[in-house]
């Protein structure tokens, strides 16, 4: 506020000077200066951004139009091959199935993360002080476990020989015999474990954000609705949900990006196995690029990956921006 006022004061003085007979020139210079100031202020950030992110991105894009394998790396050769890398991956049925798998995986993860996060947020809102603290602590702990550590823990939980999950299921005894049951012998089952891990780690962020959002909704709205005889579901559907719509949007949006490009959990769990059945785009790029030393193709895979993500998310961003402007 004080800054705005000072700006207005500074704004006035040259005008006064101008009126006293000096030509209008200093006035335009200062106002040009004023207009440039915000840009100058963000210049360091923008510069750092361009150097640290823009330059590597440019290299990746350039690389995707080159034949760049290990031999080119060692011999310092640059071979431009136009769209050949893109042609190769788009013509590869394996790549297409990886793309479809990545989308399905992302949708499942985002839906479960948002769903579970919402339920926990509603729970937090209704809990007493101490239980709320306990649940919050548990959520923070789950959230703060590093991805690799979490993956290793889940691997051990679901280990076919020594895992506590098989032991527990056997002890309960209601679901049949789980002795030596392998959770990692099919793609679907392995994906289920990975999803469980990722939702467990991602839901706390969603829950805390929504919980904060719920707190900002005025209590009168709820009371009025209840007086009118609305049930729990109706209250959620007609008050909580519309009030939190922008929040849901941004959370879905962020979760989609995170889950779409996730690497660590999938790689640590089974390196894309069994039999490549849990290979998503990020894993695919790594397999081709690092294990296969085909850097050009891997760059093309990365570019396609970002393009796909953009195509899906652009309408989303637009509606998000519109909602915010409307609000």
């Amino acid at each position: 506020m004080a800054d705005t006022m000072r700006a207005q004061v500074e704004d006035l003085s040259p005008v006064t000077v101008g009126r006293r007979g000096a030509p209008s020139r200093p006035r335009t210079a200062t106002s040009a200066m004023r207009r440039a100031l915000p840009y100058l202020a963000i210049l360091p950030t923008l510069g750092t951004f361009l150097i640290l992110l823009g330059y590597p991105v440019l290299l990746v894009i350039l690389l995707s139009f080159q034949k760049y394998n290990l031999a080119e790396l060692f011999n310092h050769r640059t071979i431009w091959i136009g769209l050949d890398n893109y042609r190769e991956i788009l013509g590869n049925p394996e790549f297409i199935s990886v793309v479809i798998r990545t989308f399905l995986f992302t949708i499942a993860n985002v839906a479960l993360t948002i769903g579970l996060g919402t339920l926990v947020a509603l729970l937090l809102d209704r809990l007493g002080r101490w239980m709320r603290l306990a649940v919050s602590m548990a959520m923070v702990l789950a959230w703060s476990v590093p991805a690799v550590t979490g993956s290793v823990i889940f691997q051990w939980l679901f280990d076919s020989k020594f895992g506590v999950v098989n032991w527990a299921l056997n002890t309960i005894g209601l679901f049949g015999d789980f002795t030596n049951h392998s959770w990692f012998d099919s793609g679907l089952s392995t994906f289920a474990i990975i999803t469980m891990l990722m939702v467990w780690q991602a839901a706390p962020f969603v829950a805390f954000s929504l919980f904060a959002g719920i707190g900002s909704i005025s209590k009168e709205q709820y009371e009025a609705a209840r007086v009118d005889g609305a049930g729990e579901w109706a209250v959620f559907r007609w008050i909580t949900l519309p009030s939190l719509a922008p929040l849901f949007m941004i959370l879905t949006f962020l979760s989609s990006i995170w889950d779409f490009k996730v690497f660590t959990q999938i790689w640590t769990m089974r390196q894309g196995g069994p039999n490549n059945e849990t290979v998503t785009l990020a894993i695919y790029a790594y397999q081709v690029g690092i294990a296969g030393n085909r850097f050009g193709i891997a760059a093309a895979v990365s570019c396609v990956m970002v393009a796909l993500l953009l195509v899906v998310l652009v309408p989303y961003i637009r509606s998000m921006v519109r909602t915010q402007e409307g609000a």
Binding site: K161, F263, G292, A298
Partner: protein, 463 residues
């Protein structure tokens, strides 16, 4: 509004792009500055060692892997080298196996690479094919490796499969360093208690019988295996496949053909299944390091396992549960009585960087290893030495190495010598195949066929 809505999109595009592709492009990005000042391709070949021969002083950088040679052994070699090259010093650096391929990739591509690098024998071909290493074909004799760079020739001086991994398209790019192989590691106390004489285990059937005898004796021990093996120990599997005369893949005039579905290979797979089903409590869906087989053995829950020589130390451990003299070894028996199975020869080669400025000195350092004294240093470090003559004369005070060298002499092999094999191992279809078979999800024939298809596809992608 339209323009405004584009700002977050542009932002996300940049964040998303770098976020998901940084791993894949790490190597070339780091190498890019080198590329910008690079001389045109082929000029390296035209600048051979003589140009730098006159240098009267300098530093030779040597990268060896952790666990390869004891420090004092390297010190001996370096003192010897410095005595012959006054004014020169050696910068010796120990590298970790974990992540070494990426590290070597960036290091060898730079303009100031380490002069000598140690390469795992299955990794070497990647760098040989890509031109990262100096062509030392003309130095073969001087390095003590005999005369022929044809990998098919049987009379080379170096151990067969180490020699093969040093050659790419008829040229020598590396020098065999040392080798190690797997053997049967057994618990002497348990064998004695069960009344088994390891000398009588001379075939697959006898080994399975011994495993069952041990299991009967130790039935009260929870999760006990007579012969412990993980479900996905594909190194072990390969040995049984070779024993039956099969192979993973064969080179048919430049095209790879995976051959796990050949009758011989399927017989080898059946051998593996028989061993596993004899009573191994190892997980069907995990490999030899999860959990480590030597740990199971250390806890007394296994009478024997097939492991590397270097695993014996870990098997004995330091907590006193198991004493060193309680652990014995014998050669892996073949399915044919009285023979030993061919072994998977692990080990290392030594290469000189193509961009090294000290190639002559590097060659001189390497030559020290192929002397009698040099070979004895390798033996003392616990490795099968690279020269066949030295490997045939392991002193009697080293029984473990004697068994290993005997196995290697009887027949040793490695994975297909092709840079693309690394991609196969990156997500090994052979492991998936074993799990499918052991859990009864697929027959040997179906699982082998599926694995063959995956391997064919990877090994035949264009280089």
């Amino acid at each position: 509004m339209r323009a405004k809505s584009l700002v977050p999109i542009a932002f996300l595009a940049v964040v998303g792009l770098t976020g998901c592709s940084s791993a894949a492009t790490q190597a070339p990005t780091q190498a890019a500055p080198a590329g910008s000042q690079a001389a045109p391709a082929g000029s390296q070949a035209a600048t051979p060692a003589p140009a730098t021969q006159a240098a009267s002083s300098g530093t030779l950088t040597v990268w060896l892997m952790k666990g390869s040679l004891p420090d004092e052994t390297v010190a001996t070699l370096n003192t010897q080298f410095q005595a012959a090259h006054p004014g020169w010093t050696v910068d010796y650096q120990v590298q970790n196996w974990d992540g070494i391929v990426a590290k070597l990739t960036t290091a060898l591509a730079s303009n100031n690479p380490p002069d000598i690098v140690e390469l795992g024998n299955t990794q070497a071909v990647t760098f040989e094919q890509a031109g990262a290493l100096m062509d030392i074909s003309s130095q073969r004799q001087a390095l003590g490796g005999g005369t022929s760079n044809d990998s098919a020739t049987a009379d080379e001086a170096w151990l067969g499969s180490l020699n093969d991994t040093s050659i790419w398209e008829g040229k020598l790019y590396a020098m065999p360093f040392y080798a190690g192989d797997r053997l049967v590691i057994y618990n002497k106390t348990q064998f004695a208690a069960a009344g088994i004489d390891p000398a009588t285990i001379t075939s697959k059937d006898k080994m399975i019988a011994a495993a069952k005898t041990l299991q009967a004796k130790y039935a009260s021990v929870k999760d006990y295996s007579g012969l412990y093996t993980a479900g996905q120990n594909w190194y072990e599997l390969l040995q049984f496949i070779w024993d039956r005369g099969g192979d993973v893949a064969v080179d048919q005039n430049g095209t790879w053909k995976a051959t796990l579905e050949s009758p011989q290979a399927m017989q080898g797979i059946q051998d593996y299944v028989d061993y596993y089903k004899a009573g191994s409590t190892g997980p069907a869906d995990n490999d030899e390091m999860n959990p480590p087989e030597y740990d199971i053995f250390h806890q007394g829950k296994a009478g024997m396992f097939i492991g590397n020589g270097w695993e014996i130390g870990s098997a004995v451990g330091t907590d006193g549960k198991l004493k060193a003299d309680e652990v014995g070894v014998f050669a892996i028996p073949s399915a044919t009585d009285g023979k030993t199975a061919p072994v998977f020869l692990g080990g290392s080669d030594l290469g000189i960087a193509a961009n090294s400025k000290n190639q002559q000195q590097a060659l001189d350092w390497l030559k020290q290893l192929n002397t009698d004294a040099g070979q004895q240093l390798l033996i003392k470090a616990g490795w099968i030495p690279s020269l066949k003559t030295a490997a045939a004369n392991i002193p009697a005070d080293n029984p473990i190495l004697q068994v290993q060298a005997k196995e290697a002499a009887a027949g040793s092999k490695s994975t297909p010598n092709d840079p693309r094999w690394a991609s196969v191992e990156a997500n090994n279809p052979i492991k998936s195949m074993l799990t499918q078979i052991l859990t009864g999800k697929a027959s040997i024939a179906d699982a082998a066929k599926a694995a063959d298809q995956s391997i064919d596809q990877i090994l035949n992608t264009p280089l």
